[in-house]
Amino acid sequence: MKKLLSLMLALAIVASCAIPAMAEDKYLGVMLGTNVMSLDTNLATDGDSFEVIADCIDGLLQMDADGAAVPAIAESYDLSDDGLTYTFHLRDAKWSNGDAVTANDFVFAWRRIAQEAGEYAYMLDEIGNIKGAAEIISKQTDDLTTLGVTAADDKTFVVELNVPVSFFPSLMYFPTFYPINEAFYNSLEEGTYGTSPETFLSNGAFVLEDYTPGTANLSVKKNPDYWDAARIQLPGIKYQVVGSSDNALTAFRTGALDVVMISGNQVAAAEKDAALSQNLKVTGAGYMWYLSFSQTDKNAQGGKLANANLRLAITNAIDRDNLVDNYVMDGSLATYTAVPPQFAASSTTGADFSADQDMFADYVGYDPEKAQAYFEKAKEELGVDTFEFTMIYGNNEGDEVAKVAQAIKEDVEDALDGLTINLQPMTKAERLDKMQNDNYDVALTRWGPDYADPMTYLGMWVTNNSNNYGFWSNAEYDQLIADCTTGAYITDYDARWDAMYKAETLVLQEAVIAPLYTKANANLITAGVEGIDFHPVALNRVYKDTVIK
């Protein structure tokens, strides 16, 4: 045994000497949390897929370090006076097969999104309000030319909207709006687009080097023909899917990866380590975790949760600081607003929509006595003393979710005598299925912003919206949101902003949801790696300015 060990050791020493000093064009090693599900903009739905797509393809506009929309394939754009027509002027850019990027590539890609009517098709109709999109998506017409997008010439792309959309330019960096080379797409066998480097074209900073569907490691390399090639410093990126954050920490320490994401327990360990704590960087992940309450008669003991006081009792019994400090521990922010902080800033004042977290302190907070008072009122109104609800949560949605669920159960049962919460884990898919079919009491759920406007959250609680999982309905609220999206306030930026605060108040004073925390990502980044742009919206990581020093 000893002989074997010393032999191993000798081998190890030889091996470590044999590895030469890192070659100059070292790729950046980056961890992905999940497999890249698809490189097709029509089919991709997860952040990791979006990240890799955005490495390789540029849209009309791109994000700068602060998340503002700045020119990419479009050199500039004009907006008509009525706010309904955007005209984008394209620069000379090339696909990786040498073809020029033309306005038609956008027309083709956008029409395809509307026709296929997939997950993110709603960016075209509900969010972007593009003319004709809703009709195609709902299959009322199959005439794709009715979509309000046209190629005036090779370099001019025109989009027509139904109503002015103040944040429309910021949608243009979202992968759903990226172009696809039509001739190339049509030359491929059906169903093979984006399944290998040979079946994927790039017009962006990197080209796909190594990828098969389902792979745990893929790589992209610098695109020498990129229109802005001088800006790109990295020779390439090597992605590795890492299934556990515990393993991510060790992988980082071995040097196998330069950028990893870790969760609570590993953050606590890294903070204790002087060297590692230097590498720690917390960035906003954007999405907010909250409790959704079913308010129909079907559930929750015949609709007991339709009682606003009962919901207020629960939301005031949860110690959110305790959740983030002791259980989530990755820099996530305790949240007391229905629109989470740090993703939507006013374009007139630059102020964060939810900077003031004490705005709704009357309704959301941690105050066991107040919770108890609400609870007494609820008991009186409902004529019942004991309640038993089941809380569903996903077992594949992150390390901290089960911990958070247990901490909430302890807090609520502690503060409200007579209320029991049973925990029920399930897959995220099953949780969504139960919520969409109104077959649950309480759910621990989350929502991430798709675009940088508070409406990405507030739009959810409109009567009959598919994300209104509580089945709450309020005429005043519906009117306010309608005014903000298609009505009176669409041209008056500040009035719209105020109306949205009013709407948010309505949601929170009835505790339609109980906001919990806004997720952050705790990243470890190798010393010397600089210039990775982290964003809470659309693209989580952008490497266009990244350098390895």
Binding site: N265, A269, D321, K403, P425, M426, T427
Partner: protein
């Protein structure tokens, strides 16, 4: 040499062989049977079992684990779901999470000083988990669930698995064909699929876990029993028994079963950890026990998630499981030797 002397004696007295007349070629020891003949079968089994030192050690280990599972969670002030915490002067909660095993009494004894720091004066024999709950309590609480799973598995294996395999092997031919094709079907539907469907019709929890085990856990055992049956049924004594008019049931369970006991006991032992991990998997996907309840299997999985940052967390449940297995194996070996009279240890 004794032989020669004897030959000289008078031929009238018949020769009585003595023990020294026979010498074994091999060097292995062979014990002679001292008490088997004089006792009834079950009394013999009993005596042999308790004479076997390892078997008794096994019994003691299992008893101790059983007792700890029953009383361990009561031995300190913590409940299995109690989070140990207090509020500091800033009204922030301080939680006793991720504390490695500590015994302040020993600290005092060694250093003569009071231990310092948050929660330093609490005794956590196994430490605390990442929610701030005492792992001693949780380990023994979890052992209850896993012991139940272990016993259920033994019963499923011994009743369903064994009978199924023996019958399939004994009758052979068409009966065997049909029974084996059924096994193939039962084994091929992924457990997660069948359990998710079952969960629509019955409440989630331990009951569902046991049903899930009932569906497939016996297959391994049935294969072993069938293989043994195929091997043994061609032997002469079976033929003799059949010729004498014994009924099939008698031949299968009375004549052949005792001769297949060795591999059957080994299989029972080795299916226990698999069943315990199956329960943990089912609980993780949400059809078994739910948090904050726990089992040895789920504790091992929790420990694994933090294995490099809180490495002490995975040790207690793994040690309990290993001891449980060691105990069961010792008992199994003891039973095997006591039940099969042909073994040399008799």
């Amino acid at each position: 040499m004794a032989k020669k002397e004897l030959q000289l004696q008078a031929p009238a007295a018949p020769y009585v062989p003595v023990k020294e007349d026979f010498v074994l070629l091999t060097k292995r020891d062979i014990h002679t049977d001292t008490n088997f003949a004089s006792q009834s079968y079950w009394k013999g089994v009993f005596t042999h079992f308790f004479k076997n030192r390892r078997a008794v050690v096994g019994l003691v280990i299992i008893t101790v684990i059983l007792l700890l599972a029953l009383f361990g969670p009561l031995m300190n002030g913590f409940g299995y779901r109690d989070i140990v915490q207090y509020r500091n002067e800033k009204n922030k909660r301080v939680v006793a999470k991720g504390i490695s095993p500590q015994i302040p009494a020993i600290h005092r004894l060694l250093t003569g000083e009071e231990p310092e720091g948050n929660f330093a004066d609490y005794t956590f024999l196994f430490g605390t988990d990442d929610l701030g709950r005492d792992l001693w309590t949780r380990t023994w609480y979890g052992a209850r669930v896993s012991l139940l799973i272990a016993f259920v598995t033994i019963i499923i294996d011994m009743i369903i698995g064994m009978s199924y395999g023996l019958i399939s092997g004994y009758f052979g031919g068409a009966v065997d064909q049909v029974m084996q094709r059924f096994v193939e079907i039962a084994n091929s539907v992924p457990r997660l699929v069948i359990v998710s469907v079952l969960a629509i019709f019955m409440p989630k929890g331990m009951g569902l876990v046991i049903v899930a085990l009932l569906l497939t856990e016996w297959i391994g055992m049935s294969k072993i029993a069938r293989a043994e049956m195929l091997k043994i049924k061609e032997q002469e004594y079976v033929l003799a028994s059949r010729t004498l008019g014994a009924r099939n049931g008698h031949i299968i369970f009375k004549e052949i079963l005792p001769n297949t006991i060795g591999p059957i006991i080994t299989q029972v032992m080795f299916s226990i950890p698999t069943a315990i991990f199956t329960e943990a998997f089912l609980s993780f996907v949400g059809v078994g026990i739910v948090l904050p309840q726990c089992s040895v299997g789920t504790l091992i999985e929790d420990g694994f998630n933090n294995i490099t940052t809180l490495p002490y967390q995975i040790l207690p449940p793994i040690i309990v499981l290993a001891l449980l297995m060691l105990g069961f194996n010792f008992i199994g070996d003891g039973l095997r030797e006591a039940l099969a009279p042909k073994l040399e240890d008799m």
